[in-house]
Assembly symmetry: C2
Homo-oligomer: 333 residues x 2
């Protein structure tokens, strides 16, 4: 910039104004500056600018697991929208570790990010970083997992209702003993899905049976496999299994195949997430759609709005949609 100023015999101020398309600069001067800038391959130093303005064109997103299909679609949604506004997105992985999560938020604050999108790993929000963010006027949008004590911006799916749909569907298909392989207690979504499961049973006058509910630690397909074996070998096995995620359903499939049990005739299965895999399994897995890209896009929109006006909490709950495929539809008999 100084180069340009010197060569053109104008002040740095003027150059800055020209480059930023401010109004108050002579037409000739502007032209000259812009031209020379191009010639010199001038590229603006975003760091300096954001230091001065104490506002960067960077937003941060923190997700529990990057290679997970759902999260990668959320990321895609955020990045594609952010790119349109020339915002840069930094991405970090909390690995379901609350300590890491708050460290990462600290780092992002230090980077002066304009906003943060977070899918928290625990069911309660860490108030200390919430305050730090408020102090620094950095808006936060939560995604997918929303702690019950949080009242700011968020975008999520109606997990409760989704689970209800899934279980209701199984009941309508004539399944009598429906098991649920759920996620850990400190996950808000696992809890909501579990509650939906209970509610659907209740509404259909089916007694809740504790022995039909299993809790995963890692929500892995291995656990799905293990719990399915346990369930099917019990004295009074279920005839359907609703899992907290498609990934767990993968394990369920493997276990049932190994035991020569037919899906859906012997055991019905419904997953959750509409992961890429689910539509290519044999039989195709009935599941709940979780529109990651839309969720990411909307989270970014909320952030944008929050930059512009100090609005009240923006909250969006996507309605759950049941995708009925093969794993839950019994052959007519």
């Amino acid at each position: 910039m100084r180069d340009i100023a010197e060569k053109l015999n104008v002040s740095i101020t003027t150059v800055s104004r020209a480059l930023n398309n401010k109004m108050d600069v002579g037409e000739k001067t502007r032209k000259a500056v812009l031209e020379l800038a191009k010639d010199l391959d001038y590229s603006p130093n975003a760091i300096a600018s954001s230091l001065r303005k104490s506002k960067s064109n960077v937003i941060g997103i923190i997700l529990p697991r990057l290679e997970h299909y759902f999260f990668s679609t959320v990321l895609k949604g955020v990045v594609s929208y952010a790119q349109k506004d020339n915002f840069i997105v930094t991405v970090s992985e909390s690995s379901h570790n609350p300590k890491k999560e708050s460290d990462l938020i600290g780092e992002l604050i230090g980077m002066n990010v304009s906003g943060i999108i977070l899918s928290p790993c625990r069911n309660e929000i860490n108030l200390s970083y919430l305050n730090a963010l408020k102090q620094n006027k950095i808006p936060l949008v939560l995604v997918d997992r929303i702690p019950t004590n949080y009242h700011g911006h968020y975008v999520r799916l109606n997990d409760y209702h989704g689970a209800q749909l899934a279980v209701k569907h199984l009941i309508q298909q004539g399944y009598k003993r429906i098991a649920h392989i759920r996620g850990h207690e400190y996950s808000s979504i696992a809890e909501a899905r579990y509650q939906g499961y209970c509610q659907a049973l209740k509404l259909n006058d089916i007694d809740y049976d504790l022995s039909l509910v299993k809790t995963c630690e890692f929500v892995s397909s291995e656990e799905g496999y293990y719990f399915t074996k346990e369930l099917m070998l019990s004295p009074n096995p279920p005839d359907a299994i609703f899992t907290v995620s498609d990934e767990v359903a993968l394990g369920v499939y493997n276990a049932l195949k190994e035991m020569k049990l037919h899906i859906p005739n012997d055991v019905g299965v419904v997953g959750f997430s509409n992961s890429e895999v689910s539509n290519y399994l044999c039989p195709k897995l009935t599941t709940i759609d979780q529109p990651g890209i839309r969720i990411g896009e909307m989270a970014y929109e909320f952030l944008r709005n929050a930059f512009e006006n100090n609005e009240t909490a923006q909250q969006k709950i996507f309605e759950a949609k049941l995708l009925i495929r093969e794993s839950s539809v019994r052959a007519k008999r």
Copy 2:
């Protein structure tokens, strides 16, 4: 920082030194500073620091498509390693658009990133940004798709050999007419896989048949579906199909099922990538493993090395591994 300095009646310089654990600061002073910093919830301004040092702790990664499983594993590899060194990773999506790609690189240069990891969308490297990067001393590591005219750091898979393995395997299984659904010509990996296909045929004295090679525009499952129909309805249909990616193989599966053709007995299928899905298809898809996480980790390692010493080009080619599953193994007859 000024707050701390004033409260402690020391200079800002001293505070800076204490916080950065420099040697030349009194033990008492250091203790006091660190303590007060914690009390005040001081978080360092990375922007200011990186402006002054003209070196940020940020690296950028640019990928063609974020929700693609392979790329999301590469991203995971990069982020998890970068996080260990307290490096922040920005992620952008080129959407296979060369113009966008160079714009994004420009933005990253403006951000003063310490380094860039890129999976380029075209088979030739854009020399103008290569120069810009050199001028700014920003190291670049290419990943997966490596243009032939590029001689810097890179990490990739041996696609050529992988394709050869795949086709050789099909030949050994007794398939006679092996089709190839390939990717576009300007993709280095599609080209390498195609060459591997040709080479395997040659080595086994099988004549190359132009009518058995189809070229995708988008490398989508729809194209796989469409080309499979075209191939199987031709006068002299193939008895095996090798696809440029697992995604395309998905379409192949759908088409063959619709035509009541049995995999692998009527038609053998081999994919490429070892995507998450491939192991859960029916039948399980034989494919080539593409270790995304390792590739990402190594790309980051190369970057780190490049920061430290101005080494010569670091290049790693992962050997391809054939995962023989069900889609290519004929029942004994």
